[in-house]
Symmetry: C2
Subunit: 467 residues, 2 copies
């Protein structure tokens, strides 16, 4: 049996941040990571000689209001660079017609723009009514939570194209179908990000910038600092607690921070078992479904045609496409297969997926797109220690039924991970915030324990004196 | 390492039925059960001297079209008896007014009856459009699945009382809130039961009869037959498979049947890992939330007042109440805390729950109801090897997104449990059907394997001869 103060389960951004904070506070920490690498849902894969010539198979973007992740990048001297956006974006409508446009939303027929604009306005008004600290507590929470976003779309948007645009937005942001999330979850998520446009936009929004060398570096650097406090290839299967301590594998600690998604946290065996409501929460926050696909080319040839490489394709299956060429790296296009498309293409081989993606690229960028020098993709639902991306989502009834148990510690067990964040939930930024919050929680609890112990000693001393 | 033909995980009705079928077919079977008892979500607790003087803390009713469970009871010579129903039922409306009524639905004000009647009619028309074998494949499946039942209620019923009545019906049948289930799931569930009234009714429906001595006996008797093939207190944490065999604990078999709810099946570690879509399915079928409460009395005193003991209370929290006195047992009333009420009362102690339930009983049956000789309750969400009851439910998007993976075997791993049934899903009857289906699947697969092996031998013989 090895002793320490705090065990952290999971060496993603949340767990490593918590470990870093607690180590700085003078506590002895151990981080147990199931995989043979750190970084969780961030992952770089080398595709060339240059150290920055990588493709990112996980979370890759940072936005201007994501102060946690930007601050961490600054700590490590990692510069950001803007997502390539010079030129025109492409929009492929339901009938396969291509249009060039600038900004986030393509110009559509006037009656569609009015329809979309009204839905957008209503959504933004509703977002302002939700407090991301406690979305379940608002006056209209039950009403907003009882309906799926699909029901809201159907009631609010009248034109097929506006409905499709909203559906594509939900897929792009949550990697699920509009049926799978409650209206309240969408409102919460946007409120936690500062607004709806903050989620969708490249410039000024969540897709604005990237980190030179990739985002996984943030975790790699934190893990380097933590040294042998991080133990890889060590999946945690069970957590035992008693009044005094926590047993995780061969480690005995005072507290544990479980920094993995709720859906996976529910798979650990707890002794004593978790309270029913905490367990049922873990049954109700499924992970989104996304396959990230990367095609590497000799040249970013689309730029010669005056295109950014960004595209929105309603026929898909690659509905959302970006130029992903890093400053010192190989030219590349990425596509996201999300929700329904990801479900269909998760069950076929990589060859069939490659063909499906390149078929979309060909329609968008022409024949040259069909000859990448390399193609890789990553189905996050198949990863045993993620089981989906980008994040856990609440369907109807989830927030109002179970939200209050999301961060609530169970005795000596604390919860972190981006799903528990109140700012930029689902993003790297939220993961870091959650790690800080859990570390603070542990420090407060341990501080209180120290005060309690001191109080007990003082009381005993008083008894001895007054005897 | 011990060898056998088939390992079954879970000694509930599904697992034991599968084991029984396979044993009868001459296969060597082992059933591994996590608890120290068989019966899963059926559970008897003794409250007196007589062997039939028990309270049932789990599934207890059988209906006239539940041929699987009635057949099994007949196999073991276990007689049925009717749920006590002579006298009048009670209805407590939202303002605490009591009304006596007969049948399933109390007589309400005419405009409410018209409103409820229209909703009821629409629901029944929709139910007929759903094929319980493949609810995801219907023409309107996406439309029916994209909305929560709460959205459907709000759109369909106009009066507050009709909405409350439909909400109470959903709680009583699914032990979740109407927000938590999709319209398609409700339609599927009713279609699988033969109709909406079949779910709700006592006479002619799912609550018509009980088994003398309790339903857990069915599992106890099957386990007795199976003898030492059933191993208790043996939780399965991991399943390894290769092209040839399955390893479960120290058992090596040709196939495994996992006969536990999807939400729990997802907690087992599979090697190789399950395909992404099968895993994501297990994240999307959360268990309902119910606490079953039993008060035992000296006398069934409510009968003297001309009451059946059945009651429907809108203020609750004990919204659904039944006389549960067995022919040779102690007088008793049972109440179900379901959905929201169960979530609230799961977090308090049994004392507070007892008070809450007896407060409802007092309003319904008077002062005498507050002095039971015994009170017991069972919070199924707190049970580590159930984590909720009555069954797993699909929220919006679940059936259309993941339904097709519900029964689909993964290599040598087969799935059973009432959640996989196509007749009376969620009921004991469905559990038994699913056990039979999984057993047949295994036999077919093994038969094919035998044919394959014979074919290979024949081909080899032919090669030798023609060689």
């Amino acid at each position: 049996m090895r002793d320490c103060d705090v065990v952290v389960v999971g060496a993603g951004l949340a767990g490593l941040t918590a470990a870093r904070e607690l180590t700085e506070a003078g506590l002895e920490v151990r981080v147990l990571e199931a995989r043979d690498r750190v970084g969780g849902r961030t992952l770089s894969q080398s595709v060339g000689e240059h150290p920055e010539d990588i493709v990112e198979l996980g979370g890759q973007w940072v936005g201007p209001t994501q102060h946690e992740v930007l601050g961490l990048a600054e700590d490590f001297g990692i510069p950001t660079y803007p997502t390539h956006a010079s030129g025109k974006n492409l929009f492929e409508d339901g009938r396969g017609q291509l249009k060039r446009f600038s900004g986030t939303i393509p110009m559509l027929q006037p009656h569609v723009m009015v329809d979309y604009g009204q839905a957008d306005l209503r959504l933004k008004r509703l977002i302002k009514t939700v407090d991301p600290e406690s979305p379940w507590a608002g006056e209209d929470a039950e009403r907003l939570d009882e309906q799926s976003f699909a029901s809201w779309i159907r009631r609010t948007a009248k034109t097929g194209t506006a409905r499709e645009a909203l559906t594509t937005a939900i897929r792009a942001v949550f990697s699920v179908e509009p049926a799978d999330v409650s209206l309240l979850h969408v409102l919460f998520y946007a409120a936690a990000a500062g607004g709806w446009d903050d989620l969708l936009d490249t410039e000024g929004g969540a897709q604005q910038d990237r980190l030179a060398g990739g985002t996984q570096q943030l975790s790699v650097r934190m893990a380097e600092e933590l040294g042998d406090r991080v133990e890889l290839s060590t999946p945690v299967r069970s957590i035992q607690t008693d009044g005094e301590s926590v047993l995780v594998g061969d480690l005995r600690a005072r507290r544990v921070i479980v920094a993995i998604p709720p859906a996976l946290a529910g798979r650990i065996e707890y002794d004593p078992p978790l309270p029913g409501m905490r367990d049922q929460l873990t049954q109700r926050m499924p992970m989104g479904t996304v396959i990230k696909c990367v095609a590497v080319y000799e040249e970013p040839f689309w730029r010669d045609d005056g295109l950014t490489g960004q595209a929105l394709s309603l026929p898909g299956p690659a509905q959302v496409v970006f130029d992903n060429t890093p400053p010192n790296g190989s030219a590349g296009l990425i596509a996201f297969l999300e929700g329904k498309d990801a479900r269909e293409l998760a069950s076929v081989g990589v060859r069939e997926r490659r063909e499906a993606v390149l078929r979309t690229f060909k329609r968008l960028f022409g024949e040259r797109a069909t000859h990448p020098v390399e193609y890789v993709d990553k189905d996050w639902s198949a990863e045993p220690y993620s089981r989906g991306c980008y994040a856990g989502v609440f369907g109807p009834g989830g927030w109002t039924g179970y939200g209050r148990w999301l961060r609530e510690p169970v005795g000596r067990v604390h919860w972190a991970g981006t799903e528990t964040a109140t700012r930029w939930m689902g993003y790297m930024d939220g993961a870091i915030q959650s790690g800080r919050r859990a570390a603070a929680e542990v420090q407060t609890a341990e501080g209180a324990a120290v005060v309690d112990a001191a109080g007990a000693q003082a009381a005993q001393a008083a008894r001895i004196i007054t005897g």
